[in-house]
Subunit: 352 residues, 2 copies
Amino acid sequence: MHVYRYEENPLITPEDVPPYHEGFEVIGTFNAGVTKFRDEIILLLRVAERPVSHDENIVQAPVFNPDTGLVEIYEFRKDDPRYDFSDPRVIQNASTGQFAYLTSLSYLRIARSKDGRHFTVEDKPFVYPSNKLEVFGIEDPRITLIDDTYYIYFSAVSPNGVGEAMVSTKDFQQVTHHGMIFAPENKDVLIFPEKINGKYYALHRPVPKSNGAPEIWIAESDNLLYWGNHQFLLGLREDKWDSGRIGGGAVPIKTDRGWLELYHGASKDNRYCMGAVLLDLHDPTKVIARSEQPILEPEADYETNGFFGNVVFSCGAIVEGDMVKMYYGVADTSMACAELRLSEILNSLTYY
Amino acid sequence: MHVYRYEENPLITPEDVPPYHEGFEVIGTFNAGVTKFRDEIILLLRVAERPVSHDENIVQAPVFNPDTGLVEIYEFRKDDPRYDFSDPRVIQNASTGQFAYLTSLSYLRIARSKDGRHFTVEDKPFVYPSNKLEVFGIEDPRITLIDDTYYIYFSAVSPNGVGEAMVSTKDFQQVTHHGMIFAPENKDVLIFPEKINGKYYALHRPVPKSNGAPEIWIAESDNLLYWGNHQFLLGLREDKWDSGRIGGGAVPIKTDRGWLELYHGASKDNRYCMGAVLLDLHDPTKVIARSEQPILEPEADYETNGFFGNVVFSCGAIVEGDMVKMYYGVADTSMACAELRLSEILNSLTYY
């Protein structure tokens, strides 16, 4: 696989983006949704901010208060035996293994570019937590353009779990909220850009507790707001790069040979790669072909090192002819882009 | 609370029902969906069958094969360290704590009665596992009558998780399948019997893994098949009878004071009781009132002892004037019924 990483990588880093919250620092500008709007490429960045540390023995958790619209900061001593602080992203409940708080608050911010390499980041959030299902933040947006409307959907995180919420816009200025479209635990939703046999389809990634694994499902809808006929689509593979967890990545790409989904897979030790799966053009519940090897793995320094290293994680790509410009978050820290050939990806798959 | 348990309780026991599978025994006839059809009360029983044991050192797991339509039996030695056999209902993966197999296979069978106390159980299954999302069985049905159609929905259990599937019937003979309406992990769905402000509503009970608890959510729909606008509705209460897990029970009952939901709550040590919550008549996402104490707790011998004791678990009730005939599964074994006064339940609630 020929992968051309931009010389400008990483394209956007936390240092490029001033914090929105006073007394906070930006620790991540990553996992951006991607689309074209007028003559620009838009990256809808996930911006993660955390309170600046004032005591190394204290871990702080920012929490949005939907009644006041303000962010409150909870503090935890690192020697508090009720919690486990070993994962820098979360404060875990030591007895249940579930997370109790996040160490940063994420929201969505627009970056614009004419050449796809140099971006200008807007000063203010474009989508910000707005209700009690988003008090721990909103994360990992994807953007599907249908007719003249951009549907933007993202993980909504709260003490009640992680689900997927949706908003829409026509102009990247006015936003309409549509509530939570997939209940917890679910993320990595990807809405197909057109109806197939009269129905909308979406990939989604539930994380069940009692049994089952973080794997990819598909659902259908007639209005993009209400979803049903859930079917299991794609599972983990033991002893492969995608043995730990998988989830959809970029918005499905329509090709002659089927719907191409660029998805992420992580090994059991949390190394995140990108791979591809091909779904039937007329029935996307059917898997036609799949990557044996990743199409992109964390190799560059900015991919292996960062807040949470060894992660490449795409939430969207721009396709121009045979060229796939895959934008992707690196190390839960920054944004990068790599170009791949669509034909080469399709030819690399193992067909069933 | 005045609770009148029928003298005939338990109304239906495993001894009353011959097994459908050769070489199997019926171990549960419980958690039945309830409705009136013509001049009869119908209990749609969850019937649990397991292979008759031939070796006390072996635990058997029945699994439906959707390709052959037959049930296959997997065998596990009780000294296999990869598994934990301490819960009689499941074979747990010792390392993950998730279940790997169930020890019985459940399906749905009709019982009919003219007086609500004496039931005749049909010879054959009415709804039986039919696809790969149901290979471990189907469980805990509820029935909502809307216009002339009975919507029957139930837990569908497979290695991919536990979700909620739906079928419908007009005559309790012909069945139409509608697929999975809530993706894993979810169960205890309750569809309201009429539209409210132009939308259908359903309670559901996701079980998220990374954070959150088994609590009650509400969703809306315009066609009963596709669901969205998920909202968190009702949570656990520390140090109360419903501190461990809660889920909807009977189909919501329309009253002058609001929608009355009879729900189950379990303590952290798995004692299952029934309580009640009242939702706004015109906006069921609003909680008006809730039981401080259970309206029914496991006290009778048939409720405290059985395959999984200390469980009362209702999936439906018949309301006649001020009388609530609450049918309920007992000890994951049999069916029982108790009569309560609707007015007394409503007056017992704590209003917010």
